[in-house]
């Protein structure tokens, strides 16, 4: 039983770190015996949140910090992705499928839709100190 475990990882907001970030999250969860599909869902949702921070919060400057906290409690997993970037003026609008602020960059506007589809809950908040906090939750084995 792996109850009450966590890890915290802070990365520079470089796109080359995306693969490491989602792999680290996936590796941490292996002792909970997730299915391949659950693991892929979690890695994909994590990748979406990290991409948002790199592309939108920090404007693709490949600079700034992204902090990923993973908390597990029995088979409940929470992944929190935080940045100190520009925030999101209208979170509900940003969550709409195919909504993008960068229509000329081949952006699908599906990031939040993917997170919501692949996870049990997605909570996005603007932090008081600036930046975004995305909480992704999933119960394994359901």
């Amino acid at each position: 039983m792996n109850s009450n475990n966590y890890f915290v990882l802070t990365l520079k907001a470089k796109s080359e770190n995306e693969s490491f970030a989602r792999s680290a999250v996936g590796a941490f969860l292996v002792p909970l015996s997730p299915s391949i599909e659950e693991l892929t869902d979690i890695k994909t949702a994590t990748s979406e949140a990290v991409t948002n921070s790199i592309v939108h919060a920090y404007g693709g400057k490949q600079d700034g910090d992204i902090t990923i906290t993973v908390v597990t409690n029995d088979h409940e997993v929470e992944i929190i992705v935080e940045d100190d970037g520009c925030g999101i003026p209208n979170i509900e609008e940003a969550k709409q499928p195919f909504y993008t602020t960068r229509p000329n960059e081949d952006r699908s506007g599906m990031g939040f839709t993917v997170m919501e589809s692949f996870m049990d809950s997605v909570v996005v908040t603007n932090k008081k100190t600036g930046g975004i906090r995305v909480s992704l939750k999933k119960k394994l084995g359901t």
Partner: protein, 105 residues
């Protein structure tokens, strides 16, 4: 990310392997555009983008694929998505992409 292609009799097969995310998106976008551009003047072509070797794909991949569709839709180019891996298939299906770019095997 590794991309290879083969052209024969109006059919252009482009095989993409590896992880398709923000980091690899630029390379995939520019490489596929260059390959299709080199055949687009030779008459109508069917492009099969083979996604069977995609080990990871997020919504950035959807954006890249939709972008290729938009760029070449008016140039006598039909783009199909061939044998998507399980990972790619789930996200493509969820986003309804096969209604625009058919899934083929």
């Amino acid at each position: 990310m590794d991309i290879t292609y083969f052209f024969n009799d109006g059919i252009l097969d482009i095989n993409v392997s590896g992880e398709l995310d923000e980091h690899s998106a630029y390379l995939m976008r520019t490489t596929i555009d260059n390959i299709i551009d080199s055949y687009v003047d030779k008459g109508p072509i069917n492009v099969n983008i083979d996604l069977s070797q995609i080990s990871f794909m997020d919504s950035t991949g959807i954006g890249v694929l939709l972008g290729r569709y938009k760029k070449f839709a008016n140039k006598n180019v039909i783009i199909n998505l061939k044998n998507p891996s399980k990972n790619a298939d789930k996200i493509l299906k969820m986003a309804g992409i096969y209604e625009i770019m058919p899934k083929v095997s």
